[in-house]
Amino acid sequence: MSEALALNLLLFLPVIGGILLLALPERRADLVRGLAMVVLLAQLALAAWLYLRFQAGVPGLQFETRLPWIPAWGVHYHIALDGLNLLLVLLTAFLGPIVVAGAFTSITRDVKLFHGMVMFIQFTMLGTFLAQDLFLFYVFWEAMLIPMFLMIGIWGGERRIYATLKFFLYTAFGSILMLAAIIYLAHTVLSADGTPSFAFADLYELGLGVQVQTVLLAAFALSFAIKVPMVPLHTWLPDAHVEAPTAGSVILAGVLLKMGTYGFLKLGFPLFPDAALLATPLIMTLAVISIIYGAGLALVQDDIKKIIAYSSVSHLGYVMLGLVTYNLLGVQGAIIQMVSHGLVAGGLFLMVGMIYERCHSRDLADYGGLAKLLPAYSVFFMILTLAAIGLPTTSGFTGEFLVLLGAFHAAWPQFEQGVNHPLVLASLAVLGIVLGALYMLRLARRLLFGEARAPVAGLRDLSLREMGILGVLVLAVFYIGLFPNDFLQKTEQAAMEYQERILAARDGEIER
């Protein structure tokens, strides 16, 4: 089987799975779960195989498929892997079976629709990562809202309707301005060289004026920043996370939030490099504010889900910080941090879901001393906590350390020229790690240690299924922490191209 074919199969497996699900009877929840599991495991296997076949150090796209879709407009069905989306595709495929396994006992209502939505969301998320055509990208980007809307709205908590409408309307507002920018771009590219095109590769070569770039970047950035989410556009996130079912939270934290940072990395900055350079101080400032403010908010929450939700705001701040360093260390660190956060936050949300299933409370005040009651649970929780803090040998360390290294690396030459703020901001970002340790340890202490109590008596510890899920996650966390080399090698070329694209704009500036 050729790799390009496998990549298409990887993308469309959930669609096939979804259609097969329709044929199953609603009563047979076991069959539905089994089928979903098989399909997503097959997807993971394909993703792993493609990851192994992916060649490091080769410039450009790999395993490309490009077919005309709307010929008159130059829209193509164009998907491929490159160093930027490779790890995120792997992460998405990896979390798929985990989501299904995690929902075995927690989703008992409308099982068929639920798994259909998981399939739908896997399809749209993978499509967004794989798309190499702006129109196709937007189609997947926006379609992703539909299954998430239903997932929060149907299986969510008490205020689910409010939370899901807020989620949809918030993100759709960003998208509508991005759509305006895309339509503008479409008509610009049309007039630039005669043949209409939406291909990213063509759009990179546009060479628009700085003013136009700034307006367009603002439209794209609003949409991406809402998804990340960056302070002050983050207010939808805690509501969505708190009300979402566990599976929804895992998908949201695990993959969906990376859409925003991936958007900046793949589209926002490289498409409008001049504007990106102009906006760098602003984005850097907002990133550091997100790190500190997110951490600060996490420190004062009593709702366990909210703590992890706000910690996501903080951790994705590091990703944004890494992206605007425009050096290899920072950018690669950002990519690793995206994957790491997907695993760690996804795992933590799963663990919150597991305890919620047993005790039906997310209030920190109800808990204490779980270490004695639930030893296995506590071990896994502690490992994920330490990974979230960024302890060496875990994935969190690799990501955050590289990002900070990159930030200082970029800040130092500027400091020598008398520009202070990058160095100040980078130093403040280090403070975020301290705050991270504070709020995560506070969570672990209140939950696991102290006087042993829980809202209900007679808790059972983790089942084999749950241990299996968490075990796999923890293995992945350690793998990235201990052997990041393979990941770094496969992303290096793409990170370099990203860096060159933006630095070329800066050099052009100097020449002018």
Binding site: W69, V139, F149, I161, F168, I176, I183, Y184
Partner: protein
């Protein structure tokens, strides 16, 4: 003009006429009421097929020069409108389809055909009247509740006002340019004397009234609510589509002057905003669709701002998509007493009673909201691209933001179906038989247009 041209150029209309006569004759000679569904369906399919075939072979002709001519665009528009009538027939059959209803529908469709081939303002007027007059009767024929009569009355009075305004505009055109052909109207478009401007404004206002653009929209919610489901579907899609396509034909390759441009920007924008906002508060499905159709009339009129070459494609594609998605929603509405099935509350918890219908209505709603991957998105994209290509970037952005307002109202329907508990007493049943067939047909078409929009755009 050769007799052959006379026959071929208006072949779709001739077929409609044959169908009407056939149904009439069958009705006269038979001693008991006959089901006119099959003859009507064959007629509409034959007319649509003829229009499509003439379009594919690139036919163009003017059997009555200066009055009636067909070209590629007119034939494509006719094919689209006739095909869209097929689900209406299925819907009508699932409720009540006697020979009167069938003949009135076909006659109205004949009017649409005339409008789309009109080369003179009088012919256009004639077509528009033939399109509207049967509708007044159709609204009353549904007579399921007292409101139907009131709705028909309102529709009749306001339709009459529209007619009067159009006639006034036509006579001003005659006064200003000395002729009644569409070229004379285009000359009036370019003219800057008071008479010409008055003529243009009145004609455009009449079209806006027929298409329910704010501030000429007040009749639509009442008329839609009072009519039966198939008639509402027909009014919301085919009538609206015919009116706007005829206006596109009337404008031809002429553009709007700066004053008219301001009107063509402001009123559709207002329509989008008001239609979307007012729709949020509705409790009845047909009223909701009525206000949503007011907003969609705004998007359709926006296409007139674009360059002449792109207008027709944008409008036709939008009419196809908008028509199909509306039909899909109407076809899936649960069966029951007319007032009951119309209430949005009846849709609560629909997913658990009839998952198929709930999913299909959700698809229709998301498509109307312009969310990809559903075809409404491509249609919206095309309209706003046309506007942006004309250099009106700010207008397009404001329009997109206005369309964003609409998302909530469609989400609300989905929320009712999937996330709300069912009402205590359920007195509606899943749609079956003809309505279900209509749903399947339109779903297939929606999927085709959604997955391969390029193919459909290639046909236009």
């Amino acid at each position: 003009m050769t007799p052959e041209g006379l026959f071929v150029a208006a072949l779709p209309e001739h077929l409609l006429l044959v169908g009407i006569l056939a149904i009439l004759v069958i009705d006269l000679v038979s001693d008991r009421p006959r089901d006119p569904f099959l003859p009507a369906l064959v007629t509409v399919l034959a007319a649509a097929g003829a229009a499509f075939w003439l379009h594919r072979i690139g036919y163009a002709g003017a059997p009555f020069p200066g009055q009636f001519s067909v070209g590629s665009d007119a034939l494509a528009a006719k094919a689209v409108l006739f095909v869209l009538t097929v689900p209406v027939l299925f819907l009508a059959r699932s409720e009540r389809l006697d020979s009167r209803v069938a003949m009135l529908l076909l006659a109205s469709l004949y009017g649409a055909g005339l409008m789309l081939s009109a080369d003179s303002l009088l012919m256009l007027f004639f077509g528009l009247e033939l399109l509207s007059l049967p509708l007044y009767a159709l609204v009353v024929l549904a007579f399921r509740r007292p409101e139907s009569a009131e709705a028909a009355m309102k529709y009749l009075v306001l339709g009459g006002v529209g007619t009067a305004v159009l006639l006034m505009g036509i006579s001003l055109t005659l006064g200003s340019t000395g002729g009644l052909s569409v070229e004379d109207f285009r000359a009036a478009l370019a003219g800057d004397d008071v008479l010409a401007r008055g003529a243009v404004v009145l004609v455009v206002a009449a079209f806006m009234l027929k298409a329910a653009v704010v501030p000429f929209h007040a009749w639509a919610p009442d008329a839609y609510e009072g009519a039966s489901v198939p008639v509402t579907a027909y009014m919301a899609t085919i009538v609206k589509g015919a009116v706007i396509l005829a206006l596109v034909r009337l404008f031809g390759d002429a553009g709007a002057g700066p004053e008219l441009l301001a009107v063509l920007v402001a009123l559709p924008l207002l329509s989008m905003v008001w239609g979307n906002l007012a729709a949020m508060r509705q409790q009845g499905f047909r009223r909701l669709i009525a206000y949503s159709s007011i907003a969609h009339a705004g998007y359709l009129f926006f296409a007139l701002l674009g360059a002449p070459e792109g207008r027709f494609e944008a409008v036709t594609f939008y009419v196809i998509v908008y028509g199909l998605t509306n039909m899909l929603a109407f076809a899936c509405l649960p069966k029951g007493e007319d007032w009951l099935r119309d209430r949005l509350d009846s849709l609560k918890g629909l997913y658990h009673r009839d998952p198929r219908a709930a999913i299909l209505i959700a698809v229709a709603m998301l498509s109307l909201a312009g969310i990809p991957p559903f075809p409404g998105f491509v249609a919206k994209f095309l309209i706003f691209r046309t506007v942006m290509e004309a250099g009106l970037v700010t207008v397009a952005v404001v329009g997109l933001v206005a369309s964003y307002l609409g998302i909530y109202l469609y989400l609300r329907v989905i929320q009712y179906m999937f996330m709300s508990p069912a009402p205590a007493q359920i007195r509606t049943q899943p749609a079956t038989g003809f309505a279900a067939t209509a749903a399947l047909l339109t779903l297939a078409a929606v999927l085709l247009v959604g997955v391969f929009p390029g193919v459909v755009l290639g046909w236009l």
